[in-house]
Amino acid sequence: MKLIFEKSQAGRRAGTLPSYDLPPAEVPEELRRGEPPRLPELAEPEIVRHFTALADRTFGVDTGFYPLGSCTMKHNPRVNERVVALPGFRDLHPLQEEDGAQGALELMWRLQEILAEVCGLHAVSLQPAAGSQGELTGLMLMRAYFADRGEAQQRKFVITADTAHGTNPASVTMAGFELKKVETDARGNLDLDDLRAKVNEETAGLMLTNPSTLGLFDEHIEEVAEIFHGAGALLYYDGANLNAVCGISRPGDMGFDIVHINLHKTFSQPHGGGGPGGGPVAVRDILEPFLPAPTVTRDADEFRLDYNRPKSIGKVRGYTGPFGVFVRSYAFIRAYGPELRRMSEVAVLNANYMLSRLRSTYGLPFERLCMHEFVLSARNLKRDHGVNALDIAKRLMDYGFHPPTIYFPLIVPEALMIEPTETEPKETLDAFCDALEKIAKEAASDPEMLKEAPHRRPVRRLDEVKAAKRAIVKYGFDQHPDLRGERAEGETVEAQKGA
């Protein structure tokens, strides 16, 4: 399909603006734009058709089942889109005086209170823009906490699990800490012996997802917390998998001191093709003084922005955070009320049901019940038929499903990481399991057909090696290379991971 730039015709336009009989703007010659930007020139009908065609070539949760592990692709209620578009929210300027933003501030204050209750912690900052920024904020809080105690130089190391999301180690580096990795034991828990050997007075803290990216709850979480707290270190909870435990087990009660929450996973902010997200941070009282400024406070019936936070790490994002995300998540939670627990129960039920159906066909690395997601291994199909996790993922597309996360976590070979979420009906879970069972049979009967999948998408398999080598990352207009006819050859299988 053509790019919008390839549909452009000089002289066409869609947008019109008010015109006033005013003297022309005077721009000093050297600052005036020379060549105009080559933006598309189209009338409105063709713009609408273009984006409609692009939407038709995109698969969302609205289109069908999207069990992308660790990404919590649940249904996004449409009432949330209605309320976020209310002019009182949508057209509110972030620098409006507090008395002109009382409704917005109250909503934020209420969301802070809700998240503190769900996490079992004391205080919340809504500011971080995404989970990854929530992680970084959490590590900055650790750093500020130890600096305040005069231990900044000493506390150099942050420990992550070998099953951790890639964002964890990346955030560790960006926050100026050094990384140590701890191994997973035979039951899928953190290896306590390895942990004890690595935690000491130089440890700043742990970053852990619980349940882990294997979909398993760490059975020794109390001992883990004791090991870190005993060494004067802190525990950070990566909230990527919070959808498993709302109202069932709270990170604060598990011993975590800092938590980030992915509003776009657990609390239904639509993922938008890769954002926006929201990554609020909840903390224990000892860390509250360091939270980003401003926080929202309540003073009798008035809500205020508190900038007077002398120990604050500062601002991690503009203004008070991604407010529209707060509106949607708040609306989502208010639709459940205390029954939020039911959300997590059904998420875990759905995952275990699928696991029970698939465990005889695919390999299960850890013989346990799962939480809201589970990881299977396709190593048998690879050994017996040369069909790998990528082939299975591509073939699932032909059956009308978005593939699960593959090749993650890294410790499971040929991993398929499946997260159904609570919003899928049993019929869909069954249809997906049927498809995976059929694919296992196809792997035996016609492995070549799987290697060439997908067969029913707008494009066939794409050449990622060529893309990285050529690095064509924008349209080149009359210089644009014509790649057509160059068939894809190599294809890299790189770790593919959501979160």
Partner: protein, 440 residues
């Protein structure tokens, strides 16, 4: 619960298949002591009509720009958002997809990001753009991180006339990045290249804003030149709406262009979610943070799009990644692409010129002393109201007009300074009304 499909008989069948007798049994791996043994202390569930009524009540207590005649800008702007933006963003396929890890499922969103990258490169005169960043503040921190690795230096220079929100975020990130932040004061509303020359010695980068926070046009060519003389990366923080009128940073020696995208396609939304953009010279492509989409072909030789250069990223490189970014702001960037396509080159130029002409009219019509009388300004300008600006704001709001931003919040010696912003949504009559209100 209305978002769940599970029936009692489904539940029974599923529990039986799993081989447990109750939902509680599924949680047997959670140690007893850390199980939560009471109901969550949350307010009762609301039906959909109740929920809408509750949120309408909250929204009703906000003085939005349809209620108050607003001249508030200072980084977030009340530009017109075309109807096609709402229509495109309402498509469920865009709204409810995730990062396109599986390109065959996501050609539409991948192509849209590729087109967005092209549009940002055209606006800024740069070679490569990522798929978007969180907002106009965090992209500045990203630029500092790139500059640190490119130059091997640890000092970053910020113009004081750079949006205070941006400077605060850079300062928050700086300790973790191992960076020292130096700020260069403004001289009568603009940044003096001679001051930057001194500060830029041994610096990784120099970040200035064009037009700057006061709305004034910076001597951008000279600022880029002194940064380049010191072999520091010149970074311009630019307003996309200005780039039909003002020169592209790539054409005057900048290595990196960054900015807040909100004014192109996003509502104000009390500060977010919006998108930040970051574009740079091709030399630094492998240091770019976040997602990048590239063109390739499929096994049939047809053109297609994929996430590319992923070996920079956290899910591959882990602790050695160029950034921890996973999420970008695709949906908001898509809104930006739609708005820029609606405008086209001619519309973008007219938009900039209209804002600028209206602001010039407002300057004259208000008749108040200018804080920086000798400067050329774009869509914002600072005036002295003769008494504390916050009082002027309070008095004007009582008459239904929000006259602007009190610069005292960020700058000393600006007690009575008001930063007034005029977009294409404000008519001549609106400006006359502002003049009347401010005249008291």
């Amino acid at each position: 619960m209305r978002y769940l499909s599970l029936t009692d008989s489904d539940q029974e069948a599923m529990l039986a298949a799993i081989g447990v007798s109750s939902i509680d049994e599924l949680f047997q791996d959670i140690p007893g002591k850390v199980r939560f043994d009471r109901p969550l202390d949350l307010e009762p569930a609301l039906s959909e009509p109740e929920l809408v009524a509750h949120l309408e009540e909250l929204a009703g207590r906000n003085a939005h720009t349809g209620l108050e005649l607003s001249f508030l800008g200072a980084g977030i702007y009340d530009h017109y958002v075309p109807a096609i933006v709402d229509a495109i963003l309402a498509r469920g396929e865009f709204l409810t997809a995730y990062t396109p890890y599986q390109p065959e499922m996501s050609q539409g969103v991948l192509q849209a990001i590729f087109e967005y990258q092209t549009a940002i490169c055209e606006l800024t005169g740069m070679d490569v753009s990522n798929a978007s960043g969180y907002d106009g503040t965090t992209v500045a921190a990203d630029a500092c991180y790139v500059a640190k690795h490119v130059t091997g230096r640890t000092k970053v220079v910020l113009a004081e006339a750079l949006n205070p929100q941006v400077r605060q975020v850079v300062k928050t990130y700086a300790p973790g990045f191992g960076l020292e932040v130096v700020e260069v004061p403004h001289t009568d509303g603009i940044t003096d290249p001679d001051d930057v020359r001194k500060a830029a010695e041994g610096a990784a980068c120099v970040i200035f804003q064009q037009p700057n926070f006061f709305g004034c046009l910076e001597p951008a060519l000279d600022l880029a030149a002194v940064a380049n003389d010191a072999e520091a990366l010149a970074v311009a923080h630019v307003d996309p709406v200005s780039l039909g009128v003002l020169e592209a940073p790539g054409r005057y020696g900048c290595a990196i262009a960054i900015g807040e995208g909100q004014g192109a396609g996003n509502y104000q939304s009390y500060g977010g979610p919006h998108y930040g953009f970051i574009a740079m010279h091709s030399d630094y492509i492998r240091r770019m943070p976040g997602r990048i989409v590239g063109e390739t072909t499929d096994t049939a030789g047809e053109r297609g799009y994929v996430l590319t250069l992923q070996t920079r990223e956290q899910h591959i490189r882990r602790e050695k990644a160029t950034s921890n970014i996973t999420t970008n702001q695709t949906l908001l960037a898509l809104a930006g692409l739609a708005h820029l396509s609606w405008l086209g080159p001619q519309g973008l130029r007219e938009l900039g010129e209209t804002c600028m002409s209206l602001a010039a009219y407002a300057k004259e019509r208000l008749g108040l002393p200018l804080v920086f009388p000798d400067r050329t300004t774009f869509k914002e300008f600072a005036v002295r109201v003769g008494h504390p600006a916050q009082e002027a704001i309070r008095a004007a709001r009582e008459q239904g007009v929000h006259p602007g931003y009190a610069l005292k919040r960020d700058y000393s010696g600006m007690e009575d300074a008001l930063l007034v912003c005029v977009t294409e949504k404000r008519s001549l009559a609106d400006i006359d009304r502002l003049a009347e209100v401010l005249a008291g």
